[in-house]
Symmetry: C2
Subunit: 153 residues, 2 copies
DNA sequence: GACAACTAGTACAACATTCAATTAGGATGG
DNA sequence: CCATCCTAATTGAATGTTGTACTAGTTGTC
């Protein structure tokens, strides 16, 4: 027997579904309109900017962004072509590849940051009560944790 | 001057970003593994199933699912090729096109529903407290409303 | 130290999505 | 009534994403 969602649960779930779809479309649109980066490229640069030597392994990047390896390879290839990042063999592991943010990539991130943060505020953070934002943040931490621990079946 | 996010806000926002990414990937994966539908096809069928005569205008479908018109055209074309839906000219407006769910489409929806609901529960609803789910539902209703009212600039 | 089993990343092909251009019907205003 | 503008939907090309297979390096084991 299927345990269906009740009406309230269904409403909330539907609200999340359309809400995130609208939100990410709007954020992406804002960012592309006000910078030379798409949202996923921006995220790649953010991750790199927070890492020692502005460098991360491709696989770490993929896992952190919840993208497939193949997708990261393509995204990074495009970004490399544009001079935003650079790739080199990882010295400790011959199979690995390190992705490093170039100065140009850093400049692009800095240039885009204002637009993006303003957009995240206007579209999300300032629309929610602090309690709602906290509930969302904490809830999704558990959601992610659950999914990750289910992963290697 | 940019009004940056504080550390908490940043953490919550990041949690939402990776959380939804992981969630939708997992839901899509579950659904595709247990049925013949992808998540966006499932959503199309849900909308149609809730409509009078199991029929909706293409544009209504696009707006409801927050997809571009072009995307809906392509998605519906694929689904029509598989016999899940059917298209006919709208009688009241010569430009419009009505999309109707076929019996086969309804059967596919019914067959997929159990898997999908179970997955939504396991990955989201049952992982959150009722208060968190309510906060998410209500928060995103406002987020969406804000985006929609900003749309026609 | 050589075999199998595993991990990291990429290449290519199938598929999905976006963007711009196009077709066609409807509304408006002189 | 017809010129213009607007809306609905589609098309096709460019772009992005996924899935599978492949290459290469690593680890473990006997």
């Amino acid at each position: 027997m299927t345990h269906w969602l009740d009406l309230e649960q269904q409403r909330h779930w539907r609200s999340l579904l359309t809400g995130t779809s609208a939100l990410f479309a709007a954020l992406n649109h804002d960012l592309e309109a006000g910078s030379d980066l798409a949202l996923n490229e921006y995220e790649v640069l953010v991750r790199l900017s927070e890492s020692p030597d502005r460098t991360l392994r491709m696989s770490v990047l993929a896992e952190g962004l919840v993208h497939s390896r193949s997708r990261i390879t393509h995204t990074v290839s495009r970004m490399e072509r544009r001079g935003l990042v650079r790739r080199q063999a990882a010295c400790d592991d011959g199979r690995g590849v390190d992705c490093t943010m170039t100065d140009e990539g850093y400049a692009a991130l800095v240039a885009a940051a204002h637009v993006h943060v303003t957009s995240v505020r206007a579209r999300l953070v300032d629309v929610l009560t602090p309690a709602e934002l906290a509930a969302i943040g904490e809830g999704f931490e558990r959601v992610t944790a659950r999914i990750v621990e289910d992963r290697p079946v």
